[in-house]
């Protein structure tokens, strides 16, 4: 069973901008295609390890990065379940 976090964006441009910012801070993130279960889009999402979540969220808040939604994913191979993450004060 694997677990990870996902950041969703309103545009690929925003995804690229946030990726560049988070990569600068050396987070182990990766751009992936947004799972269709989350949005009927062919846009990008950012996959991140949950152990870096606290720090990534702090940076999103501090730099006001344009993240639209956040999810936790759990599952294996092609079966994943997603739960939206509510962030207080955002």
């Amino acid at each position: 069973m694997s677990q990870f976090g996902l950041l969703l964006f309103s545009s690929t441009h925003d995804a690229m901008t946030v990726e560049a910012q988070l990569k600068q801070s050396k987070y182990s993130i990766r751009l992936i295609s947004t799972p269709h279960a989350l949005a009927a889009t062919c846009g990008f999402a950012i996959k991140y390890p949950l152990e870096e979540e606290h720090s990534i969220f702090a940076q999103i808040k501090e730099k006001q990065l344009p993240v639209e939604k956040r999810f936790h994913a759990e599952g294996e191979k092609f079966q994943f379940y997603y739960q939206e993450v509510e962030v207080k004060g955002d």
Binding site: T12, H13, M16, A20, R30, L31, S33, A40, C42
Partner: protein, 377 residues
């Protein structure tokens, strides 16, 4: 061979421009951005993002501006004029303007949009700035202008125009096709709403790439719609810049080449380039202005780009340009330069002018040689 038609396009480019474009095709590294999350697609997407920032910084624009790529300044100007003006609106433009501005306005006129042209002094082509207030109407929405005349090489007093637009809350759009890379363009004061640039002139990039640097809040209706890799089931274009104005696959080799052209200018420095252009203009002016066979057009006391127009006696400008090419392999541009209103103002609507325009690859020796040839006609 001497190439002096750089206002049409720079023929000589830094080697890095062609190398980058060749790499874009031959290295098999650049896919379609925004359409996948494998490395090849992301390489392109990252490169485009970096180049947007390079351009924004080059024009001293902060994050309230966005850069969108278009295939030319003409396309950018069409996008803005047709995407901002609606029936009933009035626009101000100038007699310096290129057909890239004038023809979209004539086209829009058929749809109930009106415009007025600020005219110029007959002798020097200097703009009659006092007409700005006279031609303003309650329904005036924007002012659009060419930053420099592609005929005389004179540069507009942009500060005066910015103040006027700020006072009357008009949108200000500036065509910088003739000035970007030759004089500093500074958007930091937020008084310009959008500039349209082209890659292939004094930015030393390839043809087929240009763009708009515009305020993110500017309410532009897109000229083109189509695929953008986002929200495929939506019936309308994604309403956020840059996607809003970039339907279709971008010109990756062009963008890579343009980035190298801008890096070349940054390395040389705009002040040094401007000084080089002033040297060329000065050689021509000082050797020809007192020769009664030649008429030089424009104002030689103010800010200029490396472009100068002249006529020899009353001879058709096309014949002089042909003579220079046929006998001396000197490439110049005769005729009207797609700027009919400026030629009407200068009184050259029948003769046209011979235009000489320089790049950083020209030398003072070439310009002196050219003048000697002109003097011996």
């Amino acid at each position: 061979m001497m190439y002096l038609d750089n206002a049409a396009t720079t023929l000589y480019k830094p080697d890095t421009v062609g190398e980058a474009m060749k790499d874009a095709v031959n290295h098999h590294l650049y896919g379609n951005p925004g359409r996948g999350t494998y490395d090849f697609a992301l390489n392109s997407a990252r490169l485009i993002l970096q180049t947007r920032k390079l351009i924004r910084d080059f024009f001293h624009a902060d994050e309230t501006y966005e850069v969108v790529f278009q295939n030319s300044a003409t396309m950018g100007l069409n996008t803005l004029l047709k995407g901002l003006l609606v029936p009933g609106d009035h626009a101000l433009a100038t007699s310096w303007d290129h057909n890239a501005i004038l023809r979209p306005l004539y086209q829009l006129q058929k749809n109930g949009i009106t415009f007025s042209l600020i005219s110029s002094e007959p002798a020097t082509g200097t703009l009659f700035y006092q007409e700005l207030e006279q031609k303003l109407r309650p329904e005036t929405k924007l002012l659009i202008c060419s930053h420099a005349s592609n005929v005389t090489g004179n540069v507009l007093d942009l500060d005066q125009i910015k103040t006027f637009c700020q006072k009357h809350q008009l949108l200000l759009i500036v065509d910088v096709a003739q000035t970007a890379g030759q004089i500093e363009i500074d958007l930091h004061d937020h008084l310009i709403d959008a500039i349209c640039f082209t890659g292939h002139k004094s930015l030393y990039g390839p043809t087929g790439i240009g763009g708009i640097c515009l305020k993110k809040t500017l309410p532009v209706t897109p000229l083109l719609s189509g695929g953008d890799g986002i929200r495929s089931f939506d019936k309308e274009q994604f309403p956020q810049l840059p996607s809003l104005l970039e339907a279709g696959t971008p010109n990756i080799p062009g963008i890579m080449g343009l980035a190298k052209g801008i890096e070349y200018i940054k390395q040389k420095g705009i002040a040094a380039i401007q000084k080089q252009m002033d040297t060329f203009t000065s050689i021509l002016y000082h050797r020809l202005h007192s020769n009664s066979n030649f008429t030089l057009y424009g104002d030689f006391s103010g800010s200029r780009v490396g472009t100068i127009s002249f006529n020899y006696q009353t001879i058709d400008s096309a014949q002089i340009a042909d003579y220079l090419w046929e006998h001396h392999q000197i490439a110049t541009r005769s005729g009207y330069h797609c700027a009919p209103k400026m030629h009407e103002a200068l009184g050259t609507a029948k003769q046209g002018t011979v235009r000489l325009s320089f790049s950083t690859f020209n030398t003072p020796e070439e310009i002196n040689q050219l003048v000697s040839i002109l003097e011996s006609i």
